[in-house]
Every structure is written in C-alpha cells, then in structure tokens.
Symmetry: C2
Subunit: 334 residues, 2 copies
C-alpha cells in the first residue's frame, strides 16, 4: 500500500490524540452509582484500563466528516466503547484469560459472577447512551446497533467453535473475524455518520470502509504474530503457531500444502519443543509463500476499504484523518 | 383481601389462557438462525421450557385495557419474556443452579460459556423486539426498559450481597425484591399501556400497580416457603429456613426478637438437624407473630397495588382481568 501524503500523517496523528483525550475525559467523567459496589466498580475498572479507544475515535471522525463537528457523536462514541468493553469482560470469562491490557481481568480480580453481571450492566448502558439521540434517527441507529451486536455474539461463538473444529475453511474464518471484530468498527463509523447527517449511501460506504479495514487489520494481526520483530512486538512472536491457532496463515497453509507438507504440518501440531515448532512451521509457510499470500489478501481488503472511502461524497481533504488512521493502523509493526 | 366478584374469576382465568396460548404460539414461531448452533439452541431451549408467561400476559392485558386490543403489545410481550429468560440463564450460572422449571439449566446442559453468550444474545433480541415500535413512542419505551433492566441487574447484585452480609435490614430487603423481581412486572404493564395509547398518568399508575403487586407476590413467596401445605407446595417447605435465607420473615424476626430470642435464633443458624431447625425457628416466628406481620405487610403492598389500579381512568369493568389476575396470584397456595 502507498502512504498518501505521508507528510500529513504526524499532523493527523495529533488530531487523533484530540479525539482520544476527549473520549477518555468523557469516560472518566461518566458517573455510575456507588452501590451495589461489586456491580459498578468493575465497570469503572475496565473503562479506566484505557486501550486505544479506536471505536469511539472512528465514531467521532465519521461525524466530523459530515457535520464538521464531532461532539454530536459523543453518545455514540461512548456507546461503542462501553459495548466493546462489555464484550472484553465476557470474552475474558469465556477464554479464562488472566490479563487484559496488562492488568488483571475483571473475573480474576473479582470473580466470574461479578464479571458476568457487570458485563450485562454495561451492555444496557451502551443502549442507554444511544437512546439520547433524536427519535427521527433513533430507529436507524438501533437497527444498525442491534444487528452489529448480534453479529459480534455470533463471531465470538464461531471463534470458540473453531478451536475444536478441524474443518474450518478460509471463508468461514473471514466471516468469523468480520463478525467478531470488523463489524463493530464499521458500526462505530456508521453511527458517527448517521448522527453527523450523512446520506444513506455515504453512511453505508463508511460502514463498508470500516469492516474491510477491520478484516485487513485482523489479517495483519495474524501476519505480525508470526513475522513481527520481537523487539517491537508486545506479545510472544509465534504465539499463534504454538497454540495451533487456526489463523489465516495456518488455514491457507492447510489448503495449499501438498500431501507431504500437510503431513509435516499436522505432525507439528503435537510438537512440544516450542522453538523447533515455530521454526519448522515457518519453514513450511515459507515453502508455500504464506506470508505473501496473507499480505496480498490483506491488501485486497485494504483496497476495498479505500475504494469505499473514495466513493463518499465529501471533499477529499476532509477524508484525510480517516485515511491517515487507516494507513497508520496497517503500517504498524506491533 | 377480598375476592371481588369471585364469580367472574374462572371466566377471567380462561381469558388469561387466551393470552398465554397466543404468546406461547408467537414464541414457538420465532425464527432464529440455525448456526452457530451453540448460540441459538440454548435460546430456543429456554424459551420452550414454558413457565407462566406472566410478564407477556401483563403487557397484553395492559394494552387491551387502553386500546381494546392486545395484538399491538406482541413485541413488548416478546421482549419482556425474552429478557426474563435471559436473566434466568445468567442468574442460574451465578447461583450454580442445576435445574430450572424441572429441566437441566442451560449452563449444565451445555456449559457456562454457552450460557453466558446465549444470554447476551437474548438481551440483544429483547431490544430488537422493541425497536419494531413507532419512533414517536420508541424513546419512552426504551427509557423505561433501560431503567428496568438496570434495576434488575442491581437487584441481582444486592441479592448476592445479602447472602454474605449480616446487616441487611427490611428496607434493603424490600428494595432488593423490588428491583430484582417487581419492576419487571411494572415495566411489562407500562410497556403494554404505552403501546396501547394510555396517558402518562395511567401508564405510571399501572407500573406502580405492577411493582406493588410484585413485592406482595414475593412476600407471599417468603410466607409460603414456611407455612405452605407440603402436599400442595412444589418445593420443600422450610427450605428458606434451612438455607438461613434472609427473607422478610427472618429479617423481621431478627429486628423484633428480644435478647434471649435473638440468641436462640442465631444459634439455630448452625443447627444441623433439619427437622429440629425448621420446628424451632417456626416456634420463634410464632412467639413473635412473624406470619401475621408478613401477611400484614403483604396486604399493604396489595392494597397499594389495587389503589393504583382503581385510580386508572378506564371503565372499572375493563379492569376485571387485571383484578382477577392479582387476586389469583395472591390467593395461591403454592
């Protein structure tokens, strides 16, 4: 991919910081009741853990794209951030994860009952934020939001199903990451577009931009997990290989390997020496050009995203923050 | 309490069957996707377990009270029934309950992850049903629904807190049962009233009727658990006493006992002979007139409920189904 107008990127990134600070402030100032404390302390705890605030930033950028102002997207931005954090609490219970953003997960810091119920409470809160919008756009907002929330649940179930299934194909994998991760990015953008007064078509194009970008981002995650520079990568490089995780890379290898390669790959699932396992799986990936194939697939989704952004009926200059953000996200090394 | 126009009750009860059949049919005909199957099979499973369908029946009765027709309440009725069943799945996980309506609970039949996620999915579905209503009443519907859902979460957390606290007072107990159980009955009625075109005041009165009735119903549960005829009672009589459950009866006894009675009562918390434990706690309850006190308190809430129903600006004859239902609920022996 090309870095269009790279000279503007640092300016755009500081613009992103404005959005991030705004939403972090709003979150910090959100009041919850003090009791029952085991219901509300986890809500404050997870929201204060931070994170990139990518979804609310997308809502605000989308709103500004059409209205020239991002403040009307405040409640949409809070809604998607609260929803996202609700899914993190519940997913962490399902995945038995001990850590989230380097801190103890809610169900480990308290217990599973607390994680379950405070997660439920957050989902209601995310609707509560949306209900603040005018009745003339509310049905449109809620229909989009409901469909997205449903797909996120389906994506999470598909992800869990993939762990035990041995017949997952690439199309199913793309559907899974689209539902589990990408649609919420698309929804965040489209909500911002709706409250910013975009036309139906522009709002839909922005949704498609977001979901395609989300899939590209997720594919890049799969690539980085194997090929990142360990000194710059936050997690253990090769973690997905060690866990036999059915990523785009592994599924592509399984689909394109010849008989002998397939036998080697499958026997490596049982390999107990971690260094040998990563080295030999990477060797097979190399024989099969897996990195290039994944890169190419990622770029297809990236280009689809950019085409959707291009087709939006707004001055190209105004699209620069979204373009810069997309470039930034997909040029990361960690 | 008096059974007004008892001669009409059997007629009214057959009317209730009409509502129940209607909603059971609607639920049976509700289509969910076939995959991911572990997400959707539990949804169908819990909804098909049946139950009294009290909440949807209340929505439909309320709608008919104002509009002369109950079909416009269909989506509200489905919403509250789906929400109620979502709370059952999640509560059963939190309470580690093996059985629900005599059948295996979702998290035991599948596992906790499945219960967690399919519960989440149902909560979204309950919003999905509400979004079908006209934009002119949608904000009112959603504000009521959100507040109710929030209170239900708070009530569930308070209930769990009460298990380990030893300083629960009666007021806190009433607040807990109001939030955990009663407000959803009030909400079911008010939703029906809103979609039936009721005035603000009438809709609010019907909400108050429902919550007061719900509290009375819950207090009667506490009374029946100790004083029901075992041959007619579905559960073990004395179950709450054996579990040292902080019911209205126990809390009243703790607040009104003299020093000697208090010492006896507290020592009975440790009693391991079940028959002796129930007998001796009941003896203390008898010394303190606990049954009468609880009955009186229940009747206060019942009368408050009926006063609210009386003050609604609709022909008294039209209120008969709700009156009959209230009488029926509070004259039960099991």
């Amino acid at each position: 991919m090309t870095m269009k107008k790279a000279e503007n990127i640092s300016e755009m990134l500081s613009r992103i910081e404005v959005y991030r600070n705004y939403i972090s402030n709003e979150i910090a100032n959100t009041q919850f009741p003090s009791t029952p404390s085991e219901l509300y302390e986890p809500v404050k705890y997870i929201l204060d853990l931070g994170g990139k605030r990518m979804r609310p930033i997308l809502s605000m950028m989308a709103c500004e794209l059409f209205s020239g102002d991002f403040e009307n997207a405040k409640n949409a931005a809070l809604s998607v951030e609260i929803f996202h954090n609700f899914t993190l609490i519940h997913d962490d219970i399902m995945d038995e994860a001990p850590l989230r953003r380097g801190k103890t997960t809610v169900h480990k810091k308290w217990n599973e009952r607390v994680g379950l119920l405070s997660g439920d409470r957050m989902m209601i809160e995310s609707y509560q934020k949306l209900v603040q919008y005018n009745p003339d756009i509310l049905p449109k907002i809620l229909k989009l939001y409901n469909i997205t929330a449903i797909e996120v649940c389906e994506g999470q179930q598909m992800d869990m199903d993939h762990e035990t299934r041995d017949d997952v194909d690439i199309e199913q994998y793309i559907t899974m990451i689209r539902k589990k991760t990408a649609v919420l990015l698309g929804c965040s953008l489209q909500l911002g577009a709706i409250v910013g007064g975009a036309s139906e078509k522009d709002a839909q194009d922005l949704y498609d931009f977001g979901t395609n970008l989300g899939i590209a981002f997720q594919l890049q995650d799969d690539i980085l997990d194997v090929y990142a520079d360990q000194s710059k990568f936050g997690k253990q490089v090769g973690g997905d290989i060690l866990a036999n995780k059915k990523t785009y890379l592994l599924l592509t290898a399984l689909e394109t390997a010849n008989g002998e390669q397939l036998a080697r790959l499958k026997s490596l699932f049982e390999e107990t020496d971690p260094e040998k396992k990563v080295r030999e799986v990477k060797a097979i990936y190399s024989e099969l050009n897996i990195q290039e194939k994944a890169q190419k697939q990622m770029e297809i989704f990236y280009r689809s995203a950019m085409e959707k952004l291009d087709s939006i009926q707004v001055d190209d200059a105004k699209k620069m923050p979204l373009r810069a953000l997309a470039n930034f996200l997909l040029s990361r090394e960690s």
